[in-house]
Symmetry: C2
Subunit: 391 residues, 2 copies
């Protein structure tokens, strides 16, 4: 059976060049970077080289980048660490209603500990309002956490403007850039970003490795306590092969950046046009052009998203109803609620995300199969029957 993977926003395959770079660090250069002997020093050297490589792609100093186990840990550390470090200054955090659960559930756990959180609304395209953000800032506000690019609908936030507002008010600015790093040019200095979460497995690197950028001078309470790794800020033996893989993935992403973005946008647009032109009662979600190059997000009326996904799966096409991290839940996505989609439409949502291994053939196959599936599923819908008069 033909297999078409259109879920690059959930995770990506590790590229061969990345895996090849990692291989020597499992069994040959295998030392613990904290050990002072030769085996350890070899490992430490490559960890720091990898750190410098990744930091360079966001215009950060290598000493400002700390490795973690992934984007979610980075989000937890940034938000909990900043909140706890600044609790004597204030207890108010501002975020948005469309953040990843790595941020939202972290904020909820802080609310239980006495912090107050403002969840900003977004408009129909998924953008926050800069005026609303500025109006939400109080003397007690210590942190603004707004994601760079949304993981479901792909909307890109005005990061530089948010950074400027945060800076003007003396408030820390964190951004979850898990979906953005490797797909957008990022300059933490120019954008006034104080804290930024990134992840490897979204950019063709291995799973289980991420990083947190912490601007020099910003003090966080540690999240993982223990040994003296990562300059005493994040305990646990460094994951050397994965760190090497992450750096190689970042290197490839920015080396081939223009071609990668151009290719993704072309495929995504082919998909968008094909679907919108051939299928009725379909809404395209997210911002029309301020969005992730590979993200397409549709909502089909008179359709149940899970049935749609399973039908696509039967013909070998892998898509998502929202974020992979929330699958298994029957509630419609918080992101789709926030952009004002009605329950019944939100239930028929489909995220298709293209990537470096997607072909035009994959797209055309998907458009064709999707049309057939949507028609078949709608045949079973009494509501659709009513709207179309049984035609």
């Amino acid at each position: 059976m033909k297999r078409v993977y259109l879920d690059y926003s959930a995770t990506t395959p590790t590229k061969k060049e990345v895996l090849d770079a990692m291989l020597p660090y499992f069994s040959e250069v295998f030392g613990n970077p904290s050990s002072i002997h030769g085996f350890g020093r070899e490992a430490k050297k490559v960890v720091n080289e990898s750190r410098a490589t990744i930091a360079g792609f966001m215009n950060a100093d290598e000493k400002e980048l700390y490795f973690t186990a992934g984007g979610t840990e980075s989000d937890n550390w940034a938000v909990k660490g900043a909140a706890k470090a600044l609790k004597n200054k204030g207890n108010h955090i501002i975020t948005s209603k469309i953040e990843h659960h790595g941020i939202l559930h972290t904020c909820e756990s802080l609310e239980k500990e006495g912090f107050e959180v403002t969840y900003l609304d977004v408009d129909g395209d998924g953008l926050i309002s800069l005026e609303a953000l500025e109006a939400a800032i109080k003397p007690e506000t210590v942190l603004i956490s707004i994601m760079f690019v949304n993981n479901e609908i792909g909307t890109l936030q005005p990061i530089k403007e948010i950074g400027a507002i945060a800076k003007a008010h003396g408030v820390l600015f964190h951004t979850d850039a898990v979906q953005a790093f490797g797909n957008f040019k990022i300059d933490v200095k120019d954008m006034n970003i104080d804290l930024m979460s990134i992840s490897s497995h979204k950019i063709y690197g291995p799973k289980g490795i991420g990083a947190l950028y912490i601007r020099k001078g910003v003090r966080l309470v540690n999240f993982v306590d223990g040994g003296a790794q990562e300059r005493k800020k994040r305990a646990g033996t460094e994951n050397v092969p994965s760190i090497v893989g992450f750096a190689k993935a970042a290197e490839i992403a920015y080396r081939d950046f223009d071609a990668h973005v151009e290719k993704l946008v072309a495929l995504r647009e082919r998909l968008r046009k094909g679907v919108m032109e051939t299928i009725d009662y379909c809404k395209y979600n997210g911002h029309p052009d301020q969005r992730h190059p590979g993200n397409a997000h549709f909502a089909f009326e008179f359709i149940e998203g899970e049935a749609l996904l399973l039908s696509l799966d039967l013909v070998g096409i892998a898509g998502s109803s929202g974020s992979a991290c929330t699958s298994g839940s029957l509630d419609p996505s918080h992101v789709l609620m926030a952009i004002g989609l009605k329950h019944e439409i939100a239930h028929g949502s489909l995220r298709l995300s293209v990537g470096d291994f997607t072909t035009e053939e994959d797209i055309d196959y998907t458009i064709k199969e999707l049309k057939t599936i949507v028609e078949r599923l709608r045949m079973m819908s009494p509501l659709y029957d009513k709207v179309t008069g049984g035609k």
Copy 2:
């Protein structure tokens, strides 16, 4: 130059069989286990098979095992998660003075939040006193955390007896078994263990993956908040290849268990005898026989440990002055202080840990080189000169 790695307690090379098992999960079966399509289901299946494999080796149910990024995260989750879940019951934790920093620094962070921690003494061999443990239990005690095997001096604690005491008093029992899993037979039910931290890279699996055993019915506050992974208890995309590698490493460890332990003990004893018979003013630390099969720990009088390590490194021998996680610190190890070593002896400490790839030739080379180095370093010591009368 000959290279002899005697730092298996710091980390181990990933075995070929383990790496081979991991390889298909980077680029072929690469789906996100949370995705409901075929790519995701394949990944989820292997994650759960790996979970069952590892759980089986500790007589746990697969639903009681949760993957983490490593032993330190497991320690943080167990201790912080239990303390916070039970804070309405009490605020007292009992641990020992010789725990890994993953526990000690976690306890210190809880002390800052109002928890009270009792740090039990150990005897000269590194054993806690069961009487002292029982006497330390108060109505407010909610958790006992005692490591299975010490990472520096190798001492094995009476885990089953500790478990029985904890159970009799209705207190949760956590054990950091990072150095024990794969080197000892562990039965969480028989030993009354409620929570147990384990790690992959100490048993020839990859770095960056570990697990926490949580006995059914024990409720912890989540540590990493976010997506619904690990049955909503530990957020973050599952590290599929590393999980597969961890399971394979556990499988090998327990498949070849008797031969592994026998080999390590024979090599370790050859090393111990060789060193103790050829070098004067040397103390062998840790319990004489209740200890990790691969661990040897020496303290040489009139020697500075760092100079010793660097000299060994120059002839290709990798050892450790204590835990790899605390290297870079000039203070003598907290473990050696706890067993009553005087500062000046503790400074001359050397942990040599043998493993599956160690040979008798490695041991004999090490004994020979160590003797030469110790003699040379002592020549520079005015104190040694005084003791031996310049002979």
